[in-house]
């Protein structure tokens, strides 16, 4: 028997695949994912949102349009062109910013000597509140020197110079406030052991926050770069895995046709390039920080120039240093570089590189898809489709709810209604059929036949509406509609069950009666009677047992449908079962739900027929499973 079961299960695989192939063709030939997207998005539907919806729902790999546009050359060409343009942009921008970097370079070099670095840091210390973080660092560096000196004399000339500057800019005010705070914190001018106090200064705290904010501004650039690179690398790996030279397979005619599209894309890219730096908040923030810093520098320089004689004499700072600082200032302002600042360049380069990486990824992905599609076509798509189902990856329904969750939640109420209703119907139908067969031709038989024809003639919807109105609403014997979990929930199910029995009873009884009549006329019944067996023994022990084979066959067909519930009863009685879900899914073309229902239905059907075969062997000793 086990061999038989195993063989039957193996047979089930091609059947399942066949059914899935049919649903696959139905879904992707009749109703494209674009149509589904449109019906879901309604007012929000446009080309972008449709593409986004399809990708998000996981249709990208199945798209019918993907199939019909098998040669993706136009798209490929467009993306390749865009990619190379953005790459070129990145290179050009890098070259443009070179000059700026060169101007920046000597400044750093000139300021390299330790002493001068300290001077620069000191300037920072005297700088704006915004630059106070730099002050912290600078003060940290000159800790040794200040500790030796035990005083703040080095600050004095600068303070004096600043105090002399008119008008007092906010920068100068801030600087003087910072120095005053320092003095207050260091009353004895003794720094040893007390430098940690610097960190507690409100100005320094504020500066730290500002600094953190500026880092936050820079972070997205890095993230963008890293992300793009990662995506490109991953796709690169994929490409390697698939094959080498794919571009050759592109149809030149299609490439030519795509020129117009590519031209449009280029225009669009140029437009994007123009507005991108302006529309991005990060750039604006970076620019604002840069300008504030420049203002501070300018103020510092002005202050130092005022105090130049003393300052240079005391610290040996020569004019070239000022010149270098000025150059840096000019460079930062980008006067000689088309009005762009370094931050702008950095951002533009990052953005172009990011775009180029992404586009490269898309191009590579497209090549892979085109290649794969060309190579495997429908079969490959179908394999993905089947794999998803066999791994129970049903995806989400149109309302973004996991399909598996929807089915599980609906299956409970459906089974709770249908299994007892089905059992009750079968018990009554079999009993009455036996009774009718036994009294064949009598008034009892005729009454039962009339009753079953009467029940069969009623429309199930009319019957449901009538019974619900009279028994539940008018007489109040049962709740009108509703559902609850647990045992009390059955209160809501009794009436629908009763209706199910009434709706199904006529047909079932008629069918069973014919089976019974067939059996009751058999020789073995006559023999049993001749042997003196009682009627009940003949009916239940012999006739019923022999009619079980056709009954089991019918149950094997009916039982798999029980899990789908009953649309009419569930709708009218507000039972949250699968009946309503199924119809709703079909009405709105919820592909993921339908295919999952079909898949599960097929599996249950296969198992039910297998079970029926096993039961044949149980009820009829003549049947052997080999």
């Amino acid at each position: 028997m086990w061999t038989y079961i195993a063989r039957r299960l193996l047979y089930a695989v091609p059947i399942l695949i066949g059914v899935l192939f049919l649903t696959f063709l139905l879904f992707f030939a009749i109703s494209s994912p674009e149509d589904l997207a449109r019906s879901q998005l309604q007012k929000g539907a446009n080309n972008d949102s449709i593409a986004r919806w399809m990708r998000d729902q996981g249709y990208a790999t199945y798209t019918a349009s993907g199939l019909e546009k098998l040669a993706k050359a136009p798209e490929l060409e467009r993306l390749s062109k865009a990619q190379s343009e953005r790459g070129e942009d990145a290179r050009q921008l890098t070259a443009d910013s070179e000059g700026l970097r060169k101007a920046h370079g000597p400044t750093e070099a000139a300021l390299a000597p330790a002493k001068l670095v300290e001077v620069k840091r000191l300037l920072g210390a005297l700088g704006t509140l915004d630059a106070a973080k730099e002050a912290t660092a600078a003060l940290g560096k000159i800790e040794g020197r200040l500790t030796q000196a035990n005083t703040l004399p080095v600050l004095e000339p600068l303070v004096a110079a600043l105090e002399a500057v008119e008008p007092r800019t906010p920068v100068i005010e801030g600087t003087l406030a910072a120095v005053a705070s320092l003095r207050a914190a260091l009353p004895d001018a003794k720094l040893a052991g007390r430098l940690e106090l610097i960190d507690t200064l409100p100005e320094v705290k504020k500066a730290k926050e500002a600094d953190a904010a500026s880092e936050a501004v820079a972070a997205p650039f890095e993230a963008m770069k890293a992300e793009a690179k990662k995506a490109a690398d991953a796709l690169g790996e994929k490409i390697k895995a698939v094959s080498g030279d794919k571009e050759k397979k592109i149809d030149p005619d299609l490439v030519a046709k795509a020129r117009l599209e590519a031209e449009l894309a280029r225009t669009k890219a140029e437009y994007a390039k123009k507005i991108a730096p302006l529309s991005d908040a990060a750039t604006e923030a970076a620019l604002a920080a840069q300008l504030a810093w420049l203002d501070a520098d300018r103020a510092k320089l002005a202050a130092m120039r005022e105090a130049a004689p003393d300052f240079t004499d005391a610290d040996g700072v020569q004019d070239p240093v000022f010149a270098t600082l000025l150059a840096e200032l000019e460079a930062r302002r980008g006067v000689a570089h088309g009005g762009k600042t370094l931050a702008e360049y950095d951002y533009a380069v990052a953005r172009a590189e990011h775009d180029a990486h992404l586009l490269q990824g898309q191009v590579q992905g497209l090549i892979i898809t085109a290649e794969d599609t060309q190579r495997h076509g429908l079969i490959r798509l179908f394999v993905t489709y089947v794999r998803d189902l066999f791994t129970f990856n049903f995806g989400q329904n149109n309302a973004q709810r996991p399909v598996s969750e929807v089915l599980l939640s609906g299956m409970g109420p459906s089974l709770k209604l249908m299994i007892p209703a089905f059992l009750l119907t079968e018990i009554i139908a079999v009993t009455l059929a036996l009774f009718a067969a036994l009294y064949r031709g009598t008034r009892i038989d005729r009454s039962l036949v009339v009753m079953s024809v009467f029940l069969m003639s009623f429309s199930s919807i009319a019957m449901t509406m009538f019974i619900q109105k009279v028994v539940a609403a008018d007489w109040g014997y049962f709740p009108i509609a509703g559902y609850a979990s647990g045992l009390p929930g059955y209160a809501f199910l009794i009436l629908p069950m009763f209706i199910y029995v009434i709706i199904s009873l006529g047909t079932q009884m008629r069918f069973n009666r014919i089976l019974m009549l067939d059996e009751i006329g058999q020789d073995y019944v006559r023999t049993a009677r001749a042997k003196g067996l009682g009627q009940n023994a003949i009916l239940f022990r012999h006739v019923l047992r022999n009619t079980l084979i056709p009954l089991i066959t019918r149950w094997a067909v009916v039982i798999p449908n029980l899990y789908l519930g009953s649309l009419v009863l569930e709708s009218f009685f507000g039972i949250p079962g699968l009946g309503g879900i199924t119809v709703q899914a079909i009405a709105i073309r919820d592909v993921n739900t339908i295919r999952a229902l079909v898949f599960i239905g097929t599996i249950i059907y296969i198992l039910a027929t297998l079970l029926a075969d096993v039961l044949y062997a149980v009820v009829d000793p003549r049947v052997k499973l080999k």
């Binding site: 991108a276 604006e284 009108i480 009685f573």
Partner: protein, 677 residues
């Protein structure tokens, strides 16, 4: 054997009886253990309670239970009037119209929820508002981005950036991390001016922004909820609104309880407000009927929401809703065709309904039904020249809208006289769009003048093009395959024959209809539009040239530079400024005239709803743009319980007859069995 069978049968019968009685008892007791419990029904579950994704009426209304927006509409003022909700005042708009500065309330708290530290809802700040704008813009599944598309500086770039960052990530965890990163990036057009003040910078003046801020798409959500619940936030609402979700039992019921932390300043209007209403607009109307304002007296100044609990039961079949309504288990019900004649006759309630104390509300809704011709169609569109124009115009003359509404809708419609609903201030009483008037004789005349030959008499005519010998036909696509579509097809065929046009009405499944409509592959369409906000611009935009494209709103593909220019001006005019309103009305009239000349549109009707209310339900004044009205809903649970119990009569006679019948049959059966034994 017999005894065993009998015992088993009795046991089963006893079990079912016990269960049944228990259940019935439960139904009778109900769960109205609070003073004000409102009971409503829905025909389906909401798709989501994530306001940024809520694209349909049911989802938006459910989102409105838990979430609020910066602005919404005044409770009873007519026509609908904007009021600040989470904002402290109306926006301050700069002279060039490109900057909207909004001060926020500083007493708004999110609902208590486990997504917050310690489960305690925190204060809402400007960051939350900006975060919500950005979340909506960055969300790949939102259907609402159109409300701000191309409008806010940098937001489009932000959206595409978000898409680049998140689009390719399949791993949910990584995606959630990246989302955080994306949501923390600043957008130039969304500026925080202070803890409770924001500024929105626009690319162009956008007068309708405040209306859009009333829509659920721009509701305020806390970052914590999104990060805590991830995708599941769609069924775990955490807003600032008046109700908290107790449970959502899919397919069965949604139950909302009062939010105990709802701000104390939100109260039901007081005497002064109602006096002002009386003085300014002469009271309140639902449709044509004046509302008795005295019924609101017991609620004056009471803390909102009025209801302690609101239940929405999911009842897909209208008969179930209807029976539940009649039994007193549901407070409000809008009858469909099946129940209409039982409840309403001659536009009034039937005596049975009146006896139950039920009252009727009838009102027009900003939902319009119309026909569009595809102007790119070679036969009926622009290329068809004067002949095509004549066919379009003749078609418009053939439709007897009153008859359709009377026969097929039970009066649930109002013939559309212009594209603007009557509820809007822009509605022009003195104007009638020429293609909304029934006049088949004129239709035939138009066709004759255009050179068509007409044969026939009475209501049966046939127009033929003498040049080609072909009959004049129109292929109309209908949305849906339901009885409503069948009725429409019948109506169109009958109507068109009165002017000699052969109507080929195709009933299509909704997705298929949309595919053809938005793909421009149909000849004409039976379309509908639900207005989003009370500004005529929302309607007039359906015919502008830039929307005449695939997947655009202008399914007629109508292009007219003059119309577009007037639209540009109309969209910048306010209806609440008298001088601007006058200009706006004039322009809208001129736009109608332009359309009348080319006839790309034929108006049908605006929807009209009939709503039955039980006497214990506080009368609601409808406002289809306001999804946060449930905080004003109230029902007297005690009265409902008492009345429903009075109505519930359980006659013993039918049960007794059935029992005797069953017992007799059973006894007969057993007798036979025993005798056989």
């Amino acid at each position: 054997m017999f005894k065993r069978t009998l015992t088993l049968a009795l046991l089963i019968a006893g079990l079912f009886t016990a269960i049944g009685l228990n259940g019935c008892q439960q139904m009778m007791i109900e769960i109205d253990d609070l003073p004000v419990v409102v009971r409503r029904e829905l025909t389906s579950d909401p798709k989501t309670i994530d306001p940024h994704l809520a694209g349909d009426v049911v989802s938006s209304a459910q989102s409105g239970m838990a979430y609020e927006q910066l602005y919404d509409y005044d409770y009873l003022k007519q026509p609908a009037q904007l009021v600040p909700r989470l904002a402290a005042a109306m926006p301050v708009i700069s002279e060039d119209g490109k900057s909207h500065r909004i001060k926020l309330r500083d007493d708004v708290y999110f609902q208590d929820n486990r997504c917050f530290p310690g489960g305690k809802g925190r204060k809402m700040t400007a960051d939350d508002v900006l975060y919500s704008f950005k979340r909506m813009a960055a969300h790949p599944k939102t259907t609402g981005y159109w409300v701000v598309e191309h409008k806010i500086v940098g937001l489009d770039a932000y959206r595409s950036y978000a898409e680049s960052m998140l689009g390719a990530i399949e791993d949910n965890k990584l995606r959630a991390e990246k989302e955080k990163e994306v949501h923390s990036i600043d957008v130039p057009g969304l500026r925080k001016l202070g803890e409770y003040e924001i500024e929105i910078l626009l690319t162009e003046p956008y007068l309708q922004l405040t209306y859009c801020m009333c829509m659920s798409y721009l509701a305020v959500m806390p970052r914590e909820a999104v990060e805590f619940y991830g995708e599941d936030v769609y069924r775990n609402p955490v807003g600032t609104g008046p109700f908290v979700l107790k449970y959502w039992d899919w397919g069965r019921e949604l139950l909302w309880d009062r939010n105990p932390n709802y701000r104390k300043s939100e109260v039901f209007p007081g005497e002064a407000y109602f006096r002002q209403l009386q003085a300014e607009q002469g009271g309140v109307k639902v449709g044509e009927k004046a509302v008795d304002l005295d019924q609101y007296k017991p609620y004056w100044g009471r803390q909102l929401p009025l209801a302690d609990r609101i239940s929405f039961r999911i009842l897909k079949e209208s008969q179930a809703s209807w029976l539940e309504f009649l039994a007193g288990h549901i407070d409000v019900f809008a009858p469909e065709s099946d129940q209409f004649s039982v409840a309403i006759q001659n536009d009034s309630l039937t005596p049975e309904m009146i006896e139950k104390g039920i009252y009727l509300d009838k009102y027009e809704r900003p939902v319009v039904e119309y026909f569009t011709f595809n102007m790119d169609d070679p036969k009926l569109g622009t290329l068809g020249g004067e002949k095509a124009k004549a066919i379009r115009k003749a078609f418009s003359c053939s439709l007897d809208r009153e008859e359709y509404i009377r026969t097929y809708l039970n009066g649930r419609g109002v013939p559309a006289r212009m594209m603007v609903p009557r509820l809007f201030p822009e509605y022009d009483d003195d104007y009638v769009y020429p293609h909304s008037v029934y006049d088949p004789a004129k239709g035939r005349e138009i066709l004759k003048e255009a050179g068509f030959r007409l044969d026939g008499s009475g209501d049966k005519w046939k127009a033929v093009d003498p040049d080609t010998g072909e009959p004049v036909t129109i292929t109309m696509l209908l949305r849906g395959t339901t009885q409503t579509s069948e009725d429409m097809a019948t109506f169109l065929r009958t109507s068109c024959s009165t002017v000699g046009i052969e109507m080929n009405a195709l009933k299509l499944e909704f997705p298929e209809f949309l595919k053809r409509q938005y793909g421009g592959t149909g000849q004409s369409y039976n379309a509908g539009w639900v207005l989003d906000y009370p500004d005529a611009q929302n309607m007039m935009m359906l015919v502008i040239g830039k929307e005449a494209r695939n997947n655009g709103l202008n399914s007629a593909r109508y292009r007219n530079a003059e119309y577009d220019a007037k639209y540009e001006r109309v969209s910048k005019l306010r209806a609440d400024v008298p001088e601007e309103l006058a200009e706006k009305k004039q322009l809208i009239r001129e736009m109608h005239e332009i359309l009348a000349e080319d006839c790309p549109w034929v108006l049908m009707y605006f929807q009209r709803t009939y709503r039955l209310n039980h006497k214990w339900s506080l009368q609601a004044v409808p406002n289809d743009f306001n999804y946060t009205l449930f905080k004003y809903a109230a029902s007297d649970s005690q009265l409902r319980r008492v009345t429903a119990n009075e109505w519930r009569q359980t006659p013993l006679l039918p049960a007794a007859i059935m029992a005797i019948l069953a017992l007799t049959l059973g006894a007969l059966f057993l007798f036979k069995v025993v005798r056989n034994q």
